[in-house]
Protein backbone atom coordinates (compact mmCIF):
# COMPACT_ATOMS: atom_id res chain seq x y z
CA UNK A 1 0.00 0.00 0.00
CA UNK A 2 1.31 3.41 -0.86
CA UNK A 3 0.33 6.96 -0.09
CA UNK A 4 -1.53 8.79 -2.85
CA UNK A 5 -0.55 12.13 -4.29
CA UNK A 6 -3.48 14.54 -4.52
CA UNK A 7 -3.59 15.33 -8.23
CA UNK A 8 -6.65 17.57 -8.61
CA UNK A 9 -5.68 21.24 -8.49
CA UNK A 10 -2.03 20.53 -7.68
CA UNK A 11 0.94 21.22 -9.94
CA UNK A 12 4.21 19.79 -8.63
CA UNK A 13 7.80 20.56 -9.53
CA UNK A 14 9.52 18.75 -12.38
CA UNK A 15 9.90 14.96 -12.24
CA UNK A 16 13.13 13.90 -10.52
CA UNK A 17 14.61 10.65 -9.30
CA UNK A 18 16.11 9.89 -5.91
CA UNK A 19 17.83 6.65 -4.95
CA UNK A 20 16.65 4.93 -1.79
CA UNK A 21 18.62 1.88 -0.64
CA UNK A 22 19.95 1.53 -4.18
CA UNK A 23 16.53 1.64 -5.86
CA UNK A 24 15.59 4.57 -8.11
CA UNK A 25 12.41 6.23 -6.97
CA UNK A 26 10.48 8.68 -9.13
CA UNK A 27 9.20 11.82 -7.43
CA UNK A 28 8.78 15.57 -7.94
CA UNK A 29 10.86 18.60 -7.11
CA UNK A 30 9.61 20.16 -3.90
CA UNK A 31 8.65 16.88 -2.29
CA UNK A 32 10.27 15.80 0.93
CA UNK A 33 12.23 12.56 0.96
CA UNK A 34 9.53 11.20 3.29
CA UNK A 35 6.67 12.06 0.92
CA UNK A 36 8.60 10.60 -2.01
CA UNK A 37 9.22 7.35 -0.11
CA UNK A 38 5.63 7.00 1.12
CA UNK A 39 4.21 7.71 -2.34
CA UNK A 40 6.43 4.91 -3.68
CA UNK A 41 5.17 2.52 -1.02
CA UNK A 42 8.38 2.60 1.00
CA UNK A 43 7.09 3.08 4.51
CA UNK A 44 9.79 1.38 6.61
CA UNK A 45 12.39 3.96 7.58
CA UNK A 46 14.32 1.74 9.97
CA UNK A 47 14.06 -1.48 11.99
CA UNK A 48 13.80 -1.51 15.75
CA UNK A 49 15.67 -3.84 18.11
CA UNK A 50 13.00 -6.48 17.69
CA UNK A 51 13.70 -6.37 13.96
CA UNK A 52 10.31 -4.81 13.30
CA UNK A 53 9.93 -2.10 10.66
CA UNK A 54 9.32 1.42 11.87
CA UNK A 55 7.52 4.14 9.98
CA UNK A 56 7.44 7.89 10.12
CA UNK A 57 5.21 9.07 12.97
CA UNK A 58 4.96 12.85 13.43
CA UNK A 59 5.92 14.42 10.08
CA UNK A 60 7.13 17.56 11.83
CA UNK A 61 10.66 16.80 12.92
CA UNK A 62 9.94 15.79 16.50
CA UNK A 63 9.86 12.00 16.58
CA UNK A 64 13.04 11.13 14.65
CA UNK A 65 11.44 7.95 13.32
CA UNK A 66 12.13 9.01 9.72
CA UNK A 67 15.89 9.56 10.02
CA UNK A 68 17.80 8.47 6.93
CA UNK A 69 21.41 8.90 5.84
CA UNK A 70 22.39 11.11 2.92
CA UNK A 71 25.08 9.12 1.14
CA UNK A 72 26.93 12.13 -0.29
CA UNK A 73 27.51 13.88 3.03
CA UNK A 74 27.03 11.05 5.49
CA UNK A 75 24.57 13.27 7.39
CA UNK A 76 21.70 11.72 9.30
CA UNK A 77 18.64 13.78 8.43
CA UNK A 78 14.93 13.66 9.09
CA UNK A 79 13.28 12.61 5.83
CA UNK A 80 10.18 14.67 6.65
CA UNK A 81 12.27 17.86 6.72
CA UNK A 82 14.58 17.08 3.82
CA UNK A 83 13.72 18.16 0.31
CA UNK A 84 14.30 15.61 -2.42
CA UNK A 85 16.89 16.69 -4.98
CA UNK A 86 17.45 14.94 -8.30
CA UNK A 87 19.92 12.04 -7.99
CA UNK A 88 20.05 12.38 -4.20
CA UNK A 89 21.06 9.06 -2.66
CA UNK A 90 19.56 7.95 0.63
CA UNK A 91 19.96 4.85 2.77
CA UNK A 92 17.53 3.86 5.48
CA UNK A 93 19.98 1.79 7.49
CA UNK A 94 22.07 4.09 9.64
Amino acid sequence: MSADRIIHGVVRGEPITIIVDGEPLACFAGETVAAAMLAAGVDAFRSDRRGKPRGLFCNMGSCYECQVTLVASGRRVRACLTQAVDAMEVVTRG
Binding site: M1, A3, D4, R5, I6, H8, G9, V10, V11, R12, G13, F28, A29, G30, E31, T32, A35, L38, A39, D43, A44, F45, D48, R49, R50, K52, P53, R54, G55, L56, F57, C58, N59, M60, G61, S62, C63, Y64, E65, Q67, R75, R76, C80, L81, Q83
Partner: protein, 453 residues
Amino acid sequence: MADLQHFDVAIIGGGPAGQAAAVALSGHGLSIAVIDEQPRPGGQILRQPPARFAVQAWLEGRSYAPLKQLLARFQALSGITWLGEHSVIGVQQGSVMAMGPEGVTTISARHILIAAGCQDLAVPVSGWTLPGVYAAGGIQAFLKGQQLLVGSRVLLAGTHPLQLLIAAQIVAAGGTVAAVMFAQPRSAMIGALTKHPLAALRRAPDLLATAGALRTLARAGTPVLFGAKIEALTGNDRVSGAITNQGQVACDAVGLCYGFVPQSAVPRMAGAQMKPAGPAGGWACVHDEWMRTSVPGIAAAGEAVGVAGAAAAAAGGSLAGIAIALDLGLIDADAADRAARQPRRALLQHRAFAALLDAAADPTDHFPKPAGDTIICRCEDVDHATLTGQVSAGGSANAIKLATRCGMGACQGRNCEPSLLRMIAETGPGSDPGFTARFPARQVSIADLLPPE
Protein backbone atom coordinates in the same frame (compact mmCIF):
# COMPACT_ATOMS: atom_id res chain seq x y z
CA MET B 1 30.61 25.87 13.08
CA ALA B 2 29.66 28.97 11.10
CA ASP B 3 30.31 32.58 12.12
CA LEU B 4 28.38 34.45 14.73
CA GLN B 5 25.45 36.44 13.35
CA HIS B 6 24.07 39.43 15.26
CA PHE B 7 20.41 40.43 15.41
CA ASP B 8 18.31 42.67 17.61
CA VAL B 9 15.65 40.00 17.94
CA ALA B 10 15.64 36.26 17.29
CA ILE B 11 12.23 34.64 16.90
CA ILE B 12 12.11 30.86 17.17
CA GLY B 13 9.17 29.66 15.09
CA GLY B 14 7.54 31.05 11.95
CA GLY B 15 3.95 30.21 12.91
CA PRO B 16 1.24 32.70 13.88
CA ALA B 17 2.94 33.76 17.14
CA GLY B 18 6.31 34.41 15.53
CA GLN B 19 4.71 36.16 12.56
CA ALA B 20 2.58 38.42 14.76
CA ALA B 21 5.59 39.35 16.89
CA ALA B 22 7.58 40.25 13.78
CA VAL B 23 4.69 42.35 12.46
CA ALA B 24 4.39 44.15 15.83
CA LEU B 25 8.14 44.85 15.78
CA SER B 26 8.23 46.09 12.21
CA GLY B 27 8.82 49.74 11.37
CA HIS B 28 11.50 50.26 14.04
CA GLY B 29 14.45 49.39 11.82
CA LEU B 30 15.31 46.31 13.87
CA SER B 31 17.21 43.35 12.51
CA ILE B 32 15.08 40.28 13.15
CA ALA B 33 15.92 36.64 12.55
CA VAL B 34 13.08 34.14 12.31
CA ILE B 35 14.18 30.54 12.67
CA ASP B 36 12.04 27.58 11.64
CA GLU B 37 12.53 23.93 10.78
CA GLN B 38 10.25 24.21 7.76
CA PRO B 39 11.52 25.80 4.55
CA ARG B 40 8.60 28.27 4.45
CA PRO B 41 6.80 30.22 7.17
CA GLY B 42 3.30 29.28 8.31
CA GLY B 43 3.78 26.95 11.22
CA GLN B 44 1.91 23.67 11.42
CA ILE B 45 -1.47 25.42 11.12
CA LEU B 46 -0.53 26.87 7.71
CA ARG B 47 2.03 24.30 6.61
CA GLN B 48 2.71 25.68 3.15
CA PRO B 49 3.12 23.52 0.07
CA PRO B 50 6.67 23.56 -1.28
CA ALA B 51 7.58 26.66 -3.29
CA ARG B 52 7.87 24.35 -6.32
CA PHE B 53 4.18 23.40 -6.06
CA ALA B 54 1.16 25.37 -7.26
CA VAL B 55 -1.93 24.43 -5.27
CA GLN B 56 -5.40 25.73 -6.11
CA ALA B 57 -7.85 26.14 -3.26
CA TRP B 58 -5.26 25.79 -0.49
CA LEU B 59 -6.89 25.80 2.98
CA GLU B 60 -9.95 27.73 1.85
CA GLY B 61 -11.96 27.22 5.05
CA ARG B 62 -13.16 30.41 6.72
CA SER B 63 -11.23 29.78 9.93
CA TYR B 64 -7.93 29.91 8.00
CA ALA B 65 -8.60 33.33 6.43
CA PRO B 66 -7.28 35.63 9.20
CA LEU B 67 -4.21 33.43 9.58
CA LYS B 68 -3.50 33.63 5.87
CA GLN B 69 -3.79 37.42 6.09
CA LEU B 70 -1.25 37.47 8.91
CA LEU B 71 1.08 35.22 6.94
CA ALA B 72 0.84 37.53 3.91
CA ARG B 73 1.66 40.56 6.08
CA PHE B 74 4.64 38.72 7.57
CA GLN B 75 5.95 37.64 4.19
CA ALA B 76 5.76 41.23 2.96
CA LEU B 77 7.89 42.60 5.84
CA SER B 78 11.35 43.94 5.16
CA GLY B 79 14.24 43.57 7.59
CA ILE B 80 13.47 39.93 8.36
CA THR B 81 16.18 37.32 7.96
CA TRP B 82 14.29 34.10 7.35
CA LEU B 83 16.27 31.09 8.55
CA GLY B 84 14.10 28.25 7.26
CA GLU B 85 15.30 24.65 7.46
CA HIS B 86 17.06 25.55 10.71
CA SER B 87 16.58 23.62 13.95
CA VAL B 88 17.32 25.37 17.21
CA ILE B 89 19.60 23.15 19.23
CA GLY B 90 20.39 25.46 22.12
CA VAL B 91 19.27 28.73 23.67
CA GLN B 92 20.67 30.81 26.45
CA GLN B 93 20.26 34.43 27.39
CA GLY B 94 21.45 36.46 24.38
CA SER B 95 22.19 33.61 22.01
CA VAL B 96 20.61 30.92 19.90
CA MET B 97 22.43 28.01 18.32
CA ALA B 98 20.76 26.60 15.21
CA MET B 99 21.56 23.81 12.80
CA GLY B 100 20.85 24.32 9.13
CA PRO B 101 21.58 22.35 5.97
CA GLU B 102 25.15 23.69 6.01
CA GLY B 103 25.85 23.05 9.66
CA VAL B 104 25.57 24.92 12.94
CA THR B 105 25.30 28.68 13.25
CA THR B 106 25.26 30.84 16.38
CA ILE B 107 23.04 33.88 16.55
CA SER B 108 23.38 36.60 19.13
CA ALA B 109 20.24 38.58 19.89
CA ARG B 110 19.30 41.03 22.62
CA HIS B 111 15.82 39.58 22.73
CA ILE B 112 14.71 36.04 22.01
CA LEU B 113 11.11 34.98 21.49
CA ILE B 114 10.31 31.30 21.82
CA ALA B 115 7.32 30.59 19.61
CA ALA B 116 8.15 27.00 18.82
CA GLY B 117 4.59 25.66 18.73
CA CYS B 118 3.31 22.30 19.84
CA GLN B 119 3.33 18.69 18.81
CA ASP B 120 0.81 15.87 18.89
CA LEU B 121 0.68 14.05 22.19
CA ALA B 122 2.22 10.65 21.41
CA VAL B 123 -0.10 7.97 22.77
CA PRO B 124 1.15 4.41 23.09
CA VAL B 125 -1.15 1.54 22.24
CA SER B 126 -0.31 -1.98 21.19
CA GLY B 127 0.81 -1.87 17.55
CA TRP B 128 1.42 1.87 17.40
CA THR B 129 4.98 1.42 16.15
CA LEU B 130 3.75 -0.22 12.91
CA PRO B 131 4.40 1.80 9.76
CA GLY B 132 1.17 3.52 8.78
CA VAL B 133 0.38 4.69 12.32
CA TYR B 134 0.80 8.46 12.57
CA ALA B 135 0.23 11.33 14.86
CA ALA B 136 -2.95 12.81 13.39
CA GLY B 137 -1.24 16.17 12.94
CA GLY B 138 1.34 14.45 10.76
CA ILE B 139 -1.38 13.17 8.43
CA GLN B 140 -2.86 16.67 8.25
CA ALA B 141 0.55 18.22 7.53
CA PHE B 142 0.99 15.83 4.58
CA LEU B 143 -2.38 17.02 3.24
CA LYS B 144 -1.65 20.72 3.70
CA GLY B 145 1.95 20.78 2.58
CA GLN B 146 2.97 17.83 0.46
CA GLN B 147 -0.57 17.28 -0.88
CA LEU B 148 -0.38 13.62 0.04
CA LEU B 149 -2.97 11.17 1.36
CA VAL B 150 -1.12 8.72 3.60
CA GLY B 151 -3.51 5.82 3.02
CA SER B 152 -6.58 4.73 1.11
CA ARG B 153 -8.57 4.01 4.28
CA VAL B 154 -7.61 6.12 7.26
CA LEU B 155 -8.81 5.53 10.81
CA LEU B 156 -8.75 8.51 13.15
CA ALA B 157 -8.91 7.76 16.85
CA GLY B 158 -8.52 9.81 19.99
CA THR B 159 -10.34 12.44 21.99
CA HIS B 160 -9.57 15.72 20.25
CA PRO B 161 -12.22 17.35 18.01
CA LEU B 162 -9.50 18.32 15.53
CA GLN B 163 -9.78 14.79 14.18
CA LEU B 164 -13.16 15.76 12.69
CA LEU B 165 -11.51 18.51 10.65
CA ILE B 166 -8.67 16.23 9.57
CA ALA B 167 -11.17 13.55 8.53
CA ALA B 168 -13.15 16.10 6.51
CA GLN B 169 -9.95 17.33 4.84
CA ILE B 170 -9.09 13.74 3.89
CA VAL B 171 -12.55 13.23 2.41
CA ALA B 172 -12.42 16.57 0.57
CA ALA B 173 -9.09 15.52 -0.93
CA GLY B 174 -10.70 12.37 -2.32
CA GLY B 175 -9.64 10.00 0.44
CA THR B 176 -11.63 7.57 2.55
CA VAL B 177 -11.88 7.66 6.33
CA ALA B 178 -12.72 4.28 7.89
CA ALA B 179 -14.12 5.98 11.00
CA VAL B 180 -13.56 8.82 13.40
CA MET B 181 -13.48 7.29 16.86
CA PHE B 182 -13.85 9.41 19.96
CA ALA B 183 -12.88 7.47 23.06
CA GLN B 184 -15.00 9.69 25.29
CA PRO B 185 -18.79 9.56 25.37
CA ARG B 186 -20.60 12.13 23.23
CA SER B 187 -22.04 13.76 26.37
CA ALA B 188 -18.55 14.52 27.71
CA MET B 189 -17.63 16.39 24.56
CA ILE B 190 -20.85 18.25 23.88
CA GLY B 191 -21.41 18.94 27.58
CA ALA B 192 -18.12 20.76 27.88
CA LEU B 193 -18.95 23.01 24.93
CA THR B 194 -22.45 23.91 26.09
CA LYS B 195 -21.34 24.79 29.62
CA HIS B 196 -20.00 28.12 28.40
CA PRO B 197 -22.02 28.98 25.30
CA LEU B 198 -20.75 32.57 25.14
CA ALA B 199 -17.10 31.59 24.89
CA ALA B 200 -18.09 29.05 22.25
CA LEU B 201 -20.17 31.56 20.28
CA ARG B 202 -17.33 34.04 20.09
CA ARG B 203 -15.44 31.46 18.10
CA ALA B 204 -18.33 30.75 15.76
CA PRO B 205 -16.15 30.21 12.64
CA ASP B 206 -14.36 27.32 14.35
CA LEU B 207 -17.60 25.75 15.49
CA LEU B 208 -19.03 26.21 12.01
CA ALA B 209 -15.94 24.54 10.60
CA THR B 210 -16.65 21.60 12.89
CA ALA B 211 -20.30 21.56 11.83
CA GLY B 212 -19.17 21.71 8.20
CA ALA B 213 -16.78 18.83 8.83
CA LEU B 214 -19.60 16.75 10.29
CA ARG B 215 -21.73 17.45 7.20
CA THR B 216 -18.88 16.45 4.89
CA LEU B 217 -18.38 13.21 6.82
CA ALA B 218 -22.13 12.47 6.86
CA ARG B 219 -22.30 12.90 3.08
CA ALA B 220 -19.37 10.54 2.67
CA GLY B 221 -20.99 8.01 5.00
CA THR B 222 -18.05 8.17 7.40
CA PRO B 223 -18.96 6.80 10.83
CA VAL B 224 -18.28 9.22 13.71
CA LEU B 225 -18.34 7.12 16.85
CA PHE B 226 -18.26 8.02 20.54
CA GLY B 227 -17.16 5.83 23.41
CA ALA B 228 -15.13 4.02 20.74
CA LYS B 229 -11.79 2.98 22.20
CA ILE B 230 -8.93 1.41 20.30
CA GLU B 231 -7.43 -1.56 22.11
CA ALA B 232 -4.72 -2.57 19.63
CA LEU B 233 -3.49 -1.74 16.15
CA THR B 234 -2.70 -4.79 14.07
CA GLY B 235 -0.71 -5.76 11.00
CA ASN B 236 2.48 -7.52 9.98
CA ASP B 237 4.86 -5.11 8.30
CA ARG B 238 2.41 -2.23 8.37
CA VAL B 239 -0.90 -1.43 9.99
CA SER B 240 -3.90 -3.20 8.50
CA GLY B 241 -6.53 -2.83 11.17
CA ALA B 242 -7.59 -1.87 14.65
CA ILE B 243 -9.22 -3.84 17.42
CA THR B 244 -11.68 -1.63 19.27
CA ASN B 245 -14.36 -2.05 21.91
CA GLN B 246 -16.84 -1.68 19.04
CA GLY B 247 -15.32 -4.36 16.85
CA GLN B 248 -12.54 -4.59 14.29
CA VAL B 249 -11.85 -1.89 11.75
CA ALA B 250 -9.87 -2.46 8.54
CA CYS B 251 -7.59 0.44 7.60
CA ASP B 252 -4.19 1.08 6.05
CA ALA B 253 -3.36 4.21 8.04
CA VAL B 254 -4.19 5.40 11.54
CA GLY B 255 -4.05 8.91 12.99
CA LEU B 256 -3.87 9.19 16.77
CA CYS B 257 -5.49 12.40 18.01
CA TYR B 258 -5.49 12.75 21.79
CA GLY B 259 -4.36 16.37 22.01
CA PHE B 260 -1.28 18.51 21.80
CA VAL B 261 1.64 19.44 24.03
CA PRO B 262 3.97 22.45 23.78
CA GLN B 263 7.42 22.02 22.27
CA SER B 264 9.18 22.64 25.56
CA ALA B 265 12.77 21.46 25.03
CA VAL B 266 14.16 24.90 24.21
CA PRO B 267 12.68 26.95 27.09
CA ARG B 268 13.44 24.17 29.56
CA MET B 269 17.05 24.07 28.41
CA ALA B 270 17.23 27.86 28.77
CA GLY B 271 16.14 27.46 32.39
CA ALA B 272 12.74 29.12 32.01
CA GLN B 273 10.21 28.36 34.72
CA MET B 274 7.62 25.90 33.44
CA LYS B 275 4.18 24.70 34.56
CA PRO B 276 1.99 21.74 33.61
CA ALA B 277 0.44 22.62 30.27
CA GLY B 278 -3.00 21.07 30.58
CA PRO B 279 -4.95 17.82 30.57
CA ALA B 280 -2.98 16.38 27.64
CA GLY B 281 0.28 16.79 29.58
CA GLY B 282 3.49 18.55 28.69
CA TRP B 283 5.02 21.77 29.97
CA ALA B 284 4.23 25.40 29.26
CA CYS B 285 6.34 28.50 29.91
CA VAL B 286 5.34 30.65 32.85
CA HIS B 287 5.16 34.27 31.65
CA ASP B 288 4.26 37.75 32.87
CA GLU B 289 1.64 40.10 31.39
CA TRP B 290 4.12 40.99 28.62
CA MET B 291 4.93 37.35 27.72
CA ARG B 292 8.37 37.52 29.35
CA THR B 293 9.60 34.20 30.75
CA SER B 294 11.54 33.93 34.01
CA VAL B 295 14.80 34.28 32.02
CA PRO B 296 15.68 37.92 31.23
CA GLY B 297 15.65 38.64 27.50
CA ILE B 298 13.64 35.53 26.66
CA ALA B 299 9.93 35.79 25.93
CA ALA B 300 7.48 33.07 24.90
CA ALA B 301 4.25 33.09 22.94
CA GLY B 302 1.96 30.73 21.12
CA GLU B 303 1.62 27.11 22.13
CA ALA B 304 4.87 27.42 24.10
CA VAL B 305 2.82 29.09 26.86
CA GLY B 306 0.01 26.52 26.67
CA VAL B 307 -1.80 25.05 23.70
CA ALA B 308 -4.63 27.46 22.86
CA GLY B 309 -4.74 27.48 19.07
CA ALA B 310 -3.55 29.72 16.29
CA ALA B 311 -5.69 32.78 17.09
CA ALA B 312 -4.42 32.88 20.68
CA ALA B 313 -0.90 32.36 19.37
CA ALA B 314 -1.20 35.37 17.07
CA ALA B 315 -2.53 37.55 19.91
CA GLY B 316 0.24 36.44 22.27
CA GLY B 317 2.83 36.98 19.57
CA SER B 318 1.62 40.56 19.04
CA LEU B 319 1.85 41.18 22.76
CA ALA B 320 5.37 39.77 22.90
CA GLY B 321 6.42 41.97 19.99
CA ILE B 322 4.98 45.09 21.61
CA ALA B 323 6.75 44.20 24.86
CA ILE B 324 10.11 43.77 23.14
CA ALA B 325 9.66 47.19 21.51
CA LEU B 326 8.91 48.57 24.99
CA ASP B 327 11.93 46.86 26.54
CA LEU B 328 14.18 48.16 23.77
CA GLY B 329 12.93 51.69 24.48
CA LEU B 330 11.38 52.04 21.03
CA ILE B 331 7.95 52.90 22.43
CA ASP B 332 6.89 54.26 25.82
CA ALA B 333 4.71 52.52 28.38
CA ASP B 334 1.55 54.39 27.34
CA ALA B 335 1.99 53.49 23.70
CA ALA B 336 2.68 49.88 24.66
CA ASP B 337 -0.45 49.73 26.80
CA ARG B 338 -2.57 51.19 24.03
CA ALA B 339 -1.14 48.80 21.44
CA ALA B 340 -1.57 45.87 23.82
CA ARG B 341 -5.26 46.49 24.48
CA GLN B 342 -6.61 44.61 21.48
CA PRO B 343 -4.25 41.59 21.61
CA ARG B 344 -4.83 41.26 25.36
CA ARG B 345 -8.58 41.15 24.83
CA ALA B 346 -8.17 38.64 21.99
CA LEU B 347 -5.85 36.47 24.06
CA LEU B 348 -8.36 36.26 26.93
CA GLN B 349 -11.19 35.40 24.59
CA HIS B 350 -9.28 32.71 22.71
CA ARG B 351 -7.96 31.20 25.91
CA ALA B 352 -11.51 30.91 27.21
CA PHE B 353 -12.38 28.95 24.09
CA ALA B 354 -9.22 26.87 24.44
CA ALA B 355 -10.25 25.96 27.99
CA LEU B 356 -13.57 24.68 26.63
CA LEU B 357 -11.76 22.69 24.00
CA ASP B 358 -9.41 21.28 26.64
CA ALA B 359 -12.41 20.09 28.65
CA ALA B 360 -14.15 18.66 25.59
CA ALA B 361 -10.99 16.88 24.43
CA ASP B 362 -9.67 15.84 27.86
CA PRO B 363 -7.95 12.49 27.28
CA THR B 364 -7.27 11.79 30.99
CA ASP B 365 -9.75 8.95 31.46
CA HIS B 366 -9.70 7.74 27.87
CA PHE B 367 -6.18 6.64 27.02
CA PRO B 368 -5.77 3.16 25.50
CA LYS B 369 -4.37 0.56 27.89
CA PRO B 370 -0.90 -0.46 26.73
CA ALA B 371 0.05 -4.15 26.90
CA GLY B 372 3.18 -5.20 28.78
CA ASP B 373 5.18 -5.40 25.57
CA THR B 374 3.83 -2.13 24.13
CA ILE B 375 6.74 0.15 23.40
CA ILE B 376 6.49 3.43 25.30
CA CYS B 377 9.87 4.93 24.39
CA ARG B 378 10.02 4.48 20.64
CA CYS B 379 13.66 5.53 20.26
CA GLU B 380 15.12 3.16 22.83
CA ASP B 381 12.49 0.38 22.60
CA VAL B 382 11.53 0.52 26.28
CA ASP B 383 8.28 -1.32 26.89
CA HIS B 384 5.43 -0.73 29.32
CA ALA B 385 6.24 -3.69 31.58
CA THR B 386 9.80 -2.45 32.10
CA LEU B 387 8.56 1.01 33.03
CA THR B 388 5.81 -0.36 35.27
CA GLY B 389 8.49 -2.13 37.31
CA GLN B 390 10.56 1.02 37.62
CA VAL B 391 7.59 3.23 38.43
CA SER B 392 6.30 0.92 41.15
CA ALA B 393 9.79 0.93 42.68
CA GLY B 394 9.31 4.68 43.11
CA GLY B 395 11.73 6.02 40.52
CA SER B 396 11.64 9.61 39.31
CA ALA B 397 11.53 10.28 35.57
CA ASN B 398 15.25 11.09 35.57
CA ALA B 399 16.11 7.95 37.57
CA ILE B 400 14.01 5.79 35.26
CA LYS B 401 15.71 7.41 32.26
CA LEU B 402 19.11 6.41 33.64
CA ALA B 403 17.98 2.91 34.52
CA THR B 404 16.14 2.07 31.28
CA ARG B 405 17.24 4.61 28.63
CA CYS B 406 13.58 5.73 28.36
CA GLY B 407 13.80 9.28 27.00
CA MET B 408 17.48 9.03 26.16
CA GLY B 409 17.10 8.50 22.43
CA ALA B 410 17.01 10.60 19.32
CA CYS B 411 13.76 12.42 20.13
CA GLN B 412 15.03 13.44 23.58
CA GLY B 413 11.96 12.12 25.33
CA ARG B 414 9.48 14.26 23.42
CA ASN B 415 7.28 11.26 22.73
CA CYS B 416 7.61 9.20 25.89
CA GLU B 417 7.86 11.80 28.66
CA PRO B 418 4.10 12.45 28.96
CA SER B 419 3.40 8.69 29.02
CA LEU B 420 5.99 8.08 31.73
CA LEU B 421 4.77 11.03 33.80
CA ARG B 422 1.20 9.72 33.61
CA MET B 423 2.40 6.36 34.90
CA ILE B 424 4.27 8.05 37.74
CA ALA B 425 1.25 10.21 38.60
CA GLU B 426 -0.94 7.12 38.88
CA THR B 427 1.18 5.84 41.75
CA GLY B 428 0.18 8.71 43.99
CA PRO B 429 0.47 12.40 44.73
CA GLY B 430 3.66 14.33 44.20
CA SER B 431 4.78 16.04 41.07
CA ASP B 432 7.67 14.90 38.93
CA PRO B 433 9.36 17.65 36.91
CA GLY B 434 10.13 15.24 34.08
CA PHE B 435 13.42 14.76 32.30
CA THR B 436 16.12 17.38 32.75
CA ALA B 437 16.40 19.15 29.41
CA ARG B 438 19.87 18.78 27.92
CA PHE B 439 21.75 20.34 25.04
CA PRO B 440 21.28 19.77 22.13
CA ALA B 441 17.52 20.07 21.66
CA ARG B 442 17.88 18.33 18.30
CA GLN B 443 20.42 15.76 17.22
CA VAL B 444 23.62 17.27 15.84
CA SER B 445 26.87 15.69 14.77
CA ILE B 446 29.95 16.45 16.82
CA ALA B 447 31.71 17.50 13.61
CA ASP B 448 29.13 20.28 13.19
CA LEU B 449 29.87 21.59 16.66
CA LEU B 450 33.62 21.78 16.15
CA PRO B 451 35.21 25.03 15.02
CA PRO B 452 36.21 25.04 11.32
CA GLU B 453 39.75 23.81 10.66
